[in-house]
């Protein structure tokens, strides 16, 4: 796009520079003066644009060129006129093509405008970003992404599993084949409540997923292995169930990776350093779109704090570098010790959760409020652990004395580890009870390959656990809001004492809130196979959470003193989400392939495993398809594919390193050119001085 100018004689410009009369009506000339476009720095415009160039870029292309020119409006319009005059004579076909492209582009612009009108919560997010900064806004953007993901998943599940189940429950045939006798005990499953049920029991049932809620479309146990086979239409519900679950996971993975891609591209292009960078802070940290008096003052305070923190980190680094070796040894050993202490705390928390889950299973079946408490005991212990352990780890971090940015990352990693693996401990406990510690030929598990006494329908039980975790998470969030944050604000605002001022208003902690979201989403993924309506419940839960968090943000919180970098942080959130997803995938794979499905309920009774439905259907496929699928799975195909993908990856890695070297070379070249320029300028000054002295001496000689 850079085009060379034929420089007008600069004598004309110099004259007007000397006069510098701003009120002059000869605007063109004055514009040259006042905007001081340095001829060496900006792309210049050539008045002799060749027709082929405009042809290649198309009608809109050349016009986009005008918009990107850093010139005042009148100059741009002059350029545009010249370009329009130079439109070459083209055939009717070409001009029709151009008109079509123009119309299409305009349509696209209009469509984008309409779409942005429909985007969820756009205005709220803008307000949040303007008032509280990019870090808090990234949390709410992440929440919106999860809401949309859950909603689309619900549509998927409803379309392929729920609605066909409802429609075909009266039409299709479900087979109840008993392969061998002696398994009648296994098929006993009666979740419907007997006799009169007290009213409060209904409430308890809603909250814990038992009773009338258990035998409903909410849980796995209600679905049948209905198979509809008409002359031209067939639908296999078990097969649909398995495939929908697998596709749901694949779909979520694709969405997350697509979103990570955009974030990663920005991070890689800009070097992605979290190290303090003064020049960038000074020139790019101010948000020009920030409106309002309070928001501006807050931004200034933020920036001031950020600069101070950066200077402080610099000082600490200098201090750390100046430590003697003896002090270094002491510091590192303290850090290792504290690391072990933190790990010990986390393991203690895991053990408590394990004990609580076992106790809860033993006491399950107790009725009334006490029964409810025993039911919810694992969730209570998990929430308490997730609350206490990070607090203690914060105190540990004070002793460890890492740099401030490292402290944040270490605290986050510990919290992530704690949250997700505590869920894993709960699942492990359940598994050991369902499969009698993995040995399905002992004790209670011998008859049906799973513990049918404790769990006549074990899938529904797991679904219930996940349902309870989700609900309890929402209730905890709302309770903390109502009982901690609002009162804190009221106390701080109306009671002016030193204590109140020291406690201060709430700050919106972005990392911990994001971890809460990731935890909730992982629970939903784990439970989706056993509780198909869980994504729908999660959508509603996240929508309620959005409004609650927004309310608490605007009423109770003051803006964070420490800014949280928004671009690298969205990448980090998605990484953690991916980690949760892989945990849920492990559970999915294990449940699909290893454990015997319940014989008394669900669409997979009398199959040895859930995946065997797919295997059975596979053998019913026509020969050609079967051969093709066999071939894809065989070694003859997969090994060459693997080799090919390795080659492609090597190519891209080589390209990447070459580009990196190019960038370094060009940067060095920039430096050299700058020095050349300086050298030449010095030469010119030197020469002109010499010329002046020569003239002087010549003049003196003449006068003499």
């Amino acid at each position: 796009m850079a085009m060379e100018i034929q420089r007008q004689d600069s004598g004309v410009w110099d004259d007007s520079e000397d006069n510098g009369s701003p009120g002059d009506r000869q605007s063109l000339r004055l514009r040259r003066v006042s905007s001081q476009v340095t001829q060496k720095n900006y792309p210049q415009f050539s008045w002799s644009v060749t027709p082929t160039e405009t042809d290649r870029e198309g009608p809109r292309g050349s016009q986009r060129d005008i918009r990107t020119l850093p010139m005042p409006m009148a100059l741009k319009r002059a350029v545009r006129q010249v370009q329009q005059m130079q439109v070459p004579v083209v055939s009717r076909m070409d001009s029709w093509k151009r008109k079509k492209t123009k119309v299409l582009l305009k349509l696209k612009d209009d469509a984008m405008e309409i779409l942005s009108f429909f985007t969820l919560w756009n205005k709220s997010l803008q307000m949040i970003g303007g008032n509280f900064g990019g870090g808090v806004q990234s949390y709410f953007l992440f929440l919106r992404f999860l809401v949309i993901l859950n909603f689309i998943s619900f549509l998927l599940i409803a379309g392929f599993v729920l609605i066909p189940s409802i429609v075909f429950s009266s039409v299709g045939t479900s087979f109840l084949v008993l392969n061998s006798t002696g398994l009648e005990n296994c098929t006993k499953y009666d979740p419907n409540p007997q006799g009169l049920v007290a009213f409060y029991k209904y409430l308890l049932d809603v909250v814990s997923g038992t009773g009338f809620m258990e035998y409903s479309y909410l849980f796995y146990g209600y679905y049948n292995n209905t198979v509809v086979e008409d002359s031209d239409f067939s639908y296999n519900i078990p097969l649909a169930y398995v495939f929908t679950a697998v596709f749901y996971f694949a779909f979520c993975l694709i969405c997350i990776i697509a979103r990570m891609g955009t974030a990663a591209r920005v991070a890689v292009a800009t070097g992605g350093s979290t190290v303090s960078n003064y020049s960038i802070t000074v020139f790019t940290a101010w948000n020009y779109g920030c409106l309002g008096d309070t928001a501006t003052t807050l931004q200034q305070k933020n920036l001031h704090y950020q600069l101070q923190v950066d200077l402080e980190e610099e000082r600490i680094k200098k201090q750390a570098a100046a430590l003697t070796s003896k002090e270094k040894v002491v510091l590192y050993s303290v850090r290792v010790l504290m690391g072990f202490l933190a790990l010990g705390l986390i393991i203690a928390a895991f053990y408590c959760i394990f004990l609580a889950t076992n106790f809860s299973q033993q006491k399950s079946g107790t009725s009334g409020i006490q029964g409810l408490i025993w039911d919810y005991l694992p969730s209570i212990v998990i929430t308490a652990a997730n609350f206490m352990v990070p607090l203690l780890c914060d105190q540990i971090a004070v002793i460890e004395r890492y740099a401030p940015s490292t402290t944040v990352i270490v605290a986050l990693l510990r919290a992530v580890f704690l949250r997700l693996v505590s869920l894993g401990v709960l699942l492990f406990t359940l598994w050991s009870q369902i499969t009698c510690d993995g040995d399905t030929n002992t004790g209670d598990c011998k008859l049906c390959q799973y513990n049918h006494n404790l769990y006549p329908c074990w899938e529904t039980r797991i679904g219930q656990e996940m349902y309870k975790l989700t609900l309890f998470d929402l209730l905890t969030n709302i309770a903390v809001l109502l009982l901690v944050e609002f009162p804190r604000r009221i106390v701080v605002d109306h009671w002016s004492s030193k204590l109140a001022r020291w406690v201060g208003r709430q700050e919106f902690e972005v990392p911990l809130n994001v971890l809460g979201l990731v935890y909730g989403q992982t629970v939903v993924w784990t439970g989706a196979l056993f509780c198909p309506l869980l994504p729908a419940i999660n959508t509603i839960k996240f929508i309620i959470l959005f409004y609650c968090k927004k309310a608490t943000l605007f009423h109770n919180c003051r803006p964070a003193q420490k800014t949280f970098r928004s671009t690298t942080s969205s990448f980090f959130f998605l990484m953690v989400l991916l980690f949760g997803w892989s945990l849920a995938t492990l559970v999915l794979i294990y449940s699909l392939s290893e454990i015997q499905p319940s014989l008394g309920c669900g669409p997979f009774s009398f199959f040895p495993s859930m995946w065997s439905v797919v295997a059975n259907t596979f053998y019913k496929l026509p020969t050609v398809t079967r051969e093709f699928l066999f071939f894809i799975g065989s070694q003859a195909f997969s090994i060459p594919l693997f080799v090919l993908s390795c080659v492609v990856m090597c190519y891209f890695a080589a390209l990447f390193s070459v580009h990196g070297k190019n960038v370094a070379l060009l940067r060095a070249q920039l430096k050299l050119e700058g020095r050349d320029k300086q050298f030449l300028v010095k030469q010119i000054v030197e020469l002109s001085r010499r010329l002046q002295t020569l003239h002087h001496s010549a003049g003196e000689e003449e006068s003499i």
Binding site: M73, I280, G289, Q300, E673, K677
Partner: protein
């Protein structure tokens, strides 16, 4: 629909659409915003392109610019006379360069012009000091200001003349992830 409007001729609107990142509707809206700054000065009918300039003191009362510490410099950069009096062309130019769809290169050029207080096409230490003071409203001590300025120049200066040319500035901005989203005024 906008077909009934008499503010601009079709030709003028086409030209504005091609030269800026705004649509027809937005240009008309911009004109009404421009007019409400000085209703007695700005005519409703712009078909014969009158040469009217709204002074700096009125422009910086706009809510989008009122709280910006660089409002004076922004308006001065886009004005023809360099003193901050904007004609409608300059007004549209300003918001087009700062809008969401404006490309990075264009924004970098104008950012450089804005931060170059003494207009010598270099951002020297004095310019940096003024920028920093406007940013933090004098909250930092003078030693801290000097330290930050030194470090900033040290990081960004490639050709070693202890001031930032446009090439240095552009190189530094290309590494800033938040530049595009921050250097953006929504109107």
């Amino acid at each position: 629909m906008g077909n009934k409007q008499t503010t601009f001729t079709e030709e003028q609107l086409e030209a504005y659409q091609d030269c800026t990142y705004f649509t027809r509707k937005e240009i008309l809206r911009l004109h009404s915003r421009y007019r409400e700054l000085a209703p007695h000065l700005v005519p409703l009918d712009y078909t014969n392109s009158p040469d009217i300039r709204v002074p700096l003191t009125l422009i910086v009362t706009m809510p989008e610019l009122k709280e910006n510490p660089f409002r004076d410099r922004i308006v001065e950069t886009f004005s023809e006379d360099g003193l901050g009096n904007l004609s409608f062309n300059d007004f549209v130019d300003m918001f087009s360069a700062l809008c969401e769809t404006s490309p990075r290169e264009l924004k970098t050029i104008y950012a450089f012009k804005i931060y170059d207080f003494n207009r010598d096409n270099f951002i020297c230490k004095e310019d940096l000091k003024k920028t920093l003071n406007k940013l933090t409203k004098g909250d930092l001590t003078s030693e801290e200001v000097a330290l930050v300025c030194d470090k900033a120049i040290e990081e960004a200066d490639l050709d070693g003349d202890s001031k930032l040319s446009f090439a240095d500035f552009e190189n530094m901005i290309s590494k800033a992830p938040d530049f595009l989203s921050n250097f953006h005024i929504r109107i």
